[in-house]
Amino acid sequence: MADFEPVLLAQVGKAESYTLRAYEQSGGYQSWKKVLKEKTPKEVTEIVKASGLRGRGGAGFPTGLKWTFLPQNHPGPIYFCLNADESEPGTFNNRVLMEEDPHQVIEGLMISCYATNATAAYYYMRCEYPLAWERMQAAVDECYAAGHLGKNICGSPYSLDIFLHKGAGAYICGEETGLIESLEGKRAWPRIKPPFPAVEGAFRKPTVVNNVETVACVKQILDRGVDWFKSIGVPPDPANPRDAGSYGPKLYCLSGHINQPGCYEAPLGLTVTELIDRFGGGVWKNRQAKAAIPGGISMGLLTADEFHCPLDFNGPGKFGCLGLGTAAVVVMDEQTSMVDFLLNSCRFFSHESCGQCTPCREGTSWATKMMLRIKTGRGRLADLNLLAEIGDTIGIMPGTTICGLADGAAWPIKNCIKKFRPELEAYIKKTNPNGWGETKPVPAMDLVGIH
């Protein structure tokens, strides 16, 4: 840990790090040229597969394996979608990469496209990133001018185009099939799988969707080799035959009640305590921490007693959280009200539910209404059971929705009620001294003001 040198963030903060000139001076595009000359697409896929790289966007699916799901000897076209719709609350590592080192992302994207035989890449970026958009567009333009992109790149038979595509402010576009629907010009309603995008994706053609940080890792693996990548992080848990290991560096986003919020690179497997103390300079205002989100708000909550949780693909699950997610840690101090936290979380998901599946659309909005009722002093203890019931019944895992947004909405509810129930109950009793024990349904008229 002590001798770990940042790789993904190595150029960040240097003068004009976002220009082609600076990137090439630091050895940029060497791997791309080498891959084009010396390696077949299949060889590149094998390298990425052997590295154990798992997707950085949230689900942690092995990247090389995803690529092999594409049909063999397909006549094409095959499409590559780069998911830069980063909008999980607490997450900003893609933004930092795109603003400060866009060429690293492009080189990784090129190598990934080559490996998957894709000849067109759609770079789907959320519209709230104006600086990242500007820098990325400039970087793509530089690549065309330098001959890194276009027809018959560097005299090879391979041709590739990268097209930037701007989103319009919808969280669900980060879900891979929602992204594809949005790219096609429709409402971003996730598709039922199968067929998976690798078989039938964008424009009904085989499609790969990968995250920005994932392709940046691909570039580093081609630069430095599989052994280097596997020397960082955590090997598979021998007790868990389904664990594919957590190899490589990771960009951790640290925010909330912390002295030095920021994006920090460290080996997978760092604990929450190490992240807060070594990188974040401790909890702000000399206060104690109360809880933290381990990987974006969808992943649930860790209590301060659980901060020894390792932030690898396996760690947060052992503490009842959904997973590592985007590795965005949001720290809350001792003065934070968990009622406020849960209301904020429920409000986010009810705003971002796409409305396609009834359990998610209704579950998230009723959870928000109940949390508002609790917040404004009209809560009943029975509401906590109703909230827990929503938490247990919406999502892919209980099998009631098409995509995982509802699982992400459910986890903060489940974790918060399980880990902070006494606080929630005390709040309800204190703010609603005459009505907290009520169990009858709330009269409909009572809700008019909440809609």
């Binding site: 076209p77 980063e86 909008s87 999980e88 609350p89 607490g90 997450t91 900003f92 893609n94 933004r95 959320r126 519209c127 709230e128 990133y129 104006p130 600086l131 185009d161 097209f163 595509h165 701007k166 989103g167 319009a168 402010g169 919808a170 969280y171 949005s182 790219l183 096609e184 010009g185 429709k186 409402r187 971003a188 424009f203 986003c253 640290l254 925010s255 909330g256 009640h257 919020p261 920021g262 994006c263 989100i293 708000i297 965005a328 949001v330 809350m332 934070t336 406020d340 936290f341 904020n344 979380s345 409000r347 986010f348 705003h351 971002e352 796409c354």
Partner: protein, 160 residues
């Protein structure tokens, strides 16, 4: 009386320039909406009809997509500055709700509304992806970082 045409030749050319990028015309829907929105600060219904004509779609298809995203205004143009105040968890922990309230009072409008002089449209945003600068806001293309209420007042004062 037929509606007056809204899309200029310049807008149409900008939209058509996207055609070769995609295997379908419908995929140009979002780029077209952005092109109109950047120029007019909203996408009136007549523009939806004209975009649909260009893309070979029914107006309802374009309208269906447009209304899914909360981003495009339809009834009247957004103010000269569209000010998005993030309210998601990292910003909320550092005073985003209070900041939005403060701005709402200072401007005399609720989130989603435009000041009568057309200067500012106040909006709440879900995570702007700048959590290390919480609380933050996005003023059109400018990210305003770690905003105190006093800095927010100064920002408003400096707006044209």
């Amino acid at each position: 009386m037929p509606n007056q045409r809204i899309l200029t030749d310049e807008m149409k050319d900008a939209i058509k320039a996207f055609f070769p990028r995609y295997p379908s015309r419908q995929a140009v829907t979002l780029p077209a909406l952005h092109i109109v929105n950047e120029r007019l600060r909203y996408v009136p219904r007549q523009a939806v009809v004209e975009i649909a004509e260009l893309l070979g779609l029914a107006p309802a298809q374009v309208q269906d997509t447009l209304t899914f995203y909360g981003y495009f205004k339809q009834d009247r143009p957004a103010g000269r500055c569209r000010l998005w105040v993030c309210r998601s968890i990292s910003c909320a922990l550092r005073g985003a709700d209070e900041l939005l309230n403060h701005l709402s009072h200072a401007l005399g409008v609720a989130p989603g509304q435009t000041t009568p002089d057309g200067r500012v449209t106040l909006e709440h945003a879900e995570c702007l992806g700048a959590c290390e600068h919480a609380p933050c806001m996005l003023a059109d293309r400018q990210l305003v970082k770690s905003v105190s209420q006093r800095q927010a007042d100064e920002f408003l004062k400096a707006l044209p």
